[in-house]
């Protein structure tokens, strides 16, 4: 079945550590890719998105993600995390010509101060 996989369900980091959250999808055609974030007690909001062009995309709050087509991956990165990055992160894929998003299971990130 077509799906989106996030490899780590829980990640714990110390402040200033580097972050990489994995996301792989199984759709074969063109896709639009998204990372959403949900801070404690807040609604889901868009962190960054990829539609086409430069496979390295930059989002809000210093986050970036790299689309590697050959690996069907869209990993999220941040060079130095802060305590305020504690949140749940969701990868989502919109297969071409579809108007639905398929979400991964989410990764809960806890940053220790």
């Amino acid at each position: 079945a077509q799906s989106v996989s996030q490899h780590n369900h829980h990640v714990i980091l110390s402040e200033a550590a580097s972050l990489e959250l994995g996301c792989n999808y199984s759709y074969g055609g063109t896709v639009n890719l998204f990372w959403y974030v949900q801070y404690p007690g807040q609604h889901l909001q868009l962190l960054l998105k990829y539609f086409s062009g430069d496979p390295l995309v930059k989002g809000i709050k210093g986050f970036e993600a790299e689309f590697i087509k050959s690996k069907f991956s869209f990993n999220l990165r941040k060079p130095s995390v802060q305590w305020s990055d504690t949140a749940e992160y969701f990868c989502a894929v919109n297969p071409e010509y579809g108007n639905k998003l398929v979400f991964g299971a989410g990764t809960i990130l806890r940053v220790k101060s």
Partner: protein, 111 residues
């Protein structure tokens, strides 16, 4: 700024009750969606609508129905609530094929 509002943040209902969850968006988006969010399962699509009076089943439509009589409003209906429908319900809207904008969620508890 796009605003998606949901009628309740918290709701407690009894088994067998009919439950209505309302969602309103103010950006004239064609698409509206209902998801449920459960720990470890991410967001799962229940139903979506791409136009007034149009709807399509998502991945987990059983036990739910929807109504979209006006473009800005999308309602989720639990015909006969059951305990396994206790969850966080999220509404979203979008202009295809762009990103979805989410409401704050309704945490529904069915006892």
């Amino acid at each position: 700024d796009v605003k998606v509002t949901q009628s309740s943040r918290y709701l407690v209902k009894r088994t067998g009750e009919k439950v209505f969850l309302e969602c309103v968006q103010d950006m004239d988006h064609e698409n509206m969606f209902w998801y449920r969010q459960d720990p470890g399962l991410g967001l799962r699509l229940i139903y979506f609508s791409y136009d007034v009076k149009m709807k399509e089943k998502g991945d987990i439509p059983e036990g739910y129905s929807v109504s979209r009589e006006k473009k800005e409003r999308f309602s989720l209906i639990l015909e006969s609530a059951s305990t396994n429908q206790t969850s966080m319900y999220l509404c979203a809207s979008s202009l295809f094929p762009y990103e979805q904008y989410f409401g704050p969620g309704t945490r529904l508890t069915v006892t």
